[in-house]
């Protein structure tokens, strides 16, 4: 047993040396906190990394943000969407460069979750749809870390999912004694993400544990369920996760609202497929 504990402790240590953000994203994080930074300046810094700025522009020009084909520079993206959203987008695209090497279909799952989060947020009072959608985009970053940094454990997790027919969170718990929520939470902390992003990442399967961003967490919880429910992308196992009824109730949505959300969501997924963004 002690041997087991030691093994887990070593693993945690390995994960604690979390991936760092690309240099440009770190610079931007600092600049965003400085009131004197202008959109032009920030745009110039971001543009020094062509791969990141290209992906950000592709994302803001897709129907995902509703400005299709209109934003040609990073500085206009900042003016339209705001510093914080652009900062989060840069973090997202950096993460997803890693994600492409990790779990096949997780990028589609995450983008789908972001879209669903935005549609839900539009029907819920008192939350910012743009921030909530970025939270949806990032909610599974913990899975990226597991699949990239703990390759052998991830193989074990995949085996358990198939053999025991258990979902990815349960399999992670058995193998690592941790889940992607825990790991995502550490990552969000080490990257100094705002609480509005941190809690949806660290509590999206346990929305009752959110303290400050209950609403955003409940939205991402439902969005994660919906993207799995319609079968878009791959979140690590083939099933819908458990749905927390308290979280559902706190959103105050009717079944009619939900029908509209699902219909809009599926329309959006169809049109994104034809755009070949995903």
């Amino acid at each position: 047993m002690d041997h087991e504990k030691e093994k887990i402790r070593r693993k945690i240590k390995a994960i604690k040396s979390l991936p760092t953000l690309p240099e440009v994203a770190q610079k931007i994080s600092k600049m965003v906190e400085d009131d004197k930074t202008s959109a032009t300046e920030l745009g110039r810094i971001i543009s020094t990394d062509p791969s990141i700025s290209g992906r950000v522009l592709r994302l803001v020009n897709s129907s995902f943000y509703g400005f299709p084909g209109r934003i040609s520079s990073i500085s206009s993206a900042i003016i339209l969407l705001g510093f914080d959203v652009v900062k989060s987008l840069i973090i997202s695209v950096s993460v997803f460069e890693m994600m492409e090497k990790g779990i096949l279909g997780l990028w589609e799952h995450s983008l789908g979750c972001a879209i669903a989060s935005r549609f839900i947020a539009k029907k819920v009072q008192g939350c910012d749809p743009e921030e909530v959608s970025v939270a949806g985009l990032l909610h599974d970053i913990g899975k990226v870390v597991v699949s990239i940094q703990l390759v052998e454990d991830y193989e074990e997790i995949k085996k358990l999912i198939i053999e025991k027919k258990i979902n990815i969170s349960k399999a992670e718990k058995e193998v690592l004694d941790l889940t992607h929520e825990d790991i995502g939470g550490w990552l969000a902390e080490s990257w100094n993400l705002p609480v509005g992003l941190r809690e949806p990442i660290s509590c999206h399967h346990h929305p009752q544990q959110a303290q400050q961003s209950k609403l955003a967490t409940a939205i991402v919880h439902l969005a994660d369920f919906l993207v799995r429910a319609v079968g878009h992308g791959y979140g690590g196992d083939p099933w819908v996760p458990d749905l927390n009824h308290k979280a559902w109730e706190c959103l105050g949505l009717s079944m009619q609202d939900l029908e509209e959300i699902i219909s809009d969501f599926c329309d959006e997924l169809e049109s994104m497929e034809s755009e070949e963004l995903i």
Binding site: G231, V240, S274
Partner: protein, 105 residues
């Protein structure tokens, strides 16, 4: 109905949705039958996608409704005793059927 890239549009396809500029000005109405001239004109107007009736691009590799519903049931199998989840599943089922009906138009 299907949204397709303009390059894939051919003579005889019928618009299922109007083509409008970003400011809302309608360029071609719903029901317009496309021909070479109109397609060229759209290209000149920087239009990249059109929504047409039927499913000219999809069809053969598309899953049948029965397969889609069976996959949906499988995804929901761990939560089959949860009433709220079953309600959501039924909404999605309805949406799948509605989409397929619309595609026939």
């Amino acid at each position: 109905m299907q949204k397709i890239p303009l390059e894939k549009a051919t003579e005889g396809m019928v618009l299922a949705k109007p083509i409008a500029r970003e400011n809302g000005v309608v360029l071609m109405g719903e029901g317009t039958e496309l021909n070479e001239l109109l397609i060229e004109r759209l290209k000149g107007l920087d239009i990249t996608k059109v929504t047409v009736k039927g499913r000219p691009l999809g069809g053969e590799d598309e899953k049948s409704v029965e397969v889609l519903i069976a996959e949906l049931e499988e995804r929901f199998s761990p939560v089959s005793s949860d009433k709220l989840c079953v309600q959501i599943k039924d909404i999605i089922k309805k949406d799948i059927n509605r989409r397929r009906e619309e595609a026939k138009l």
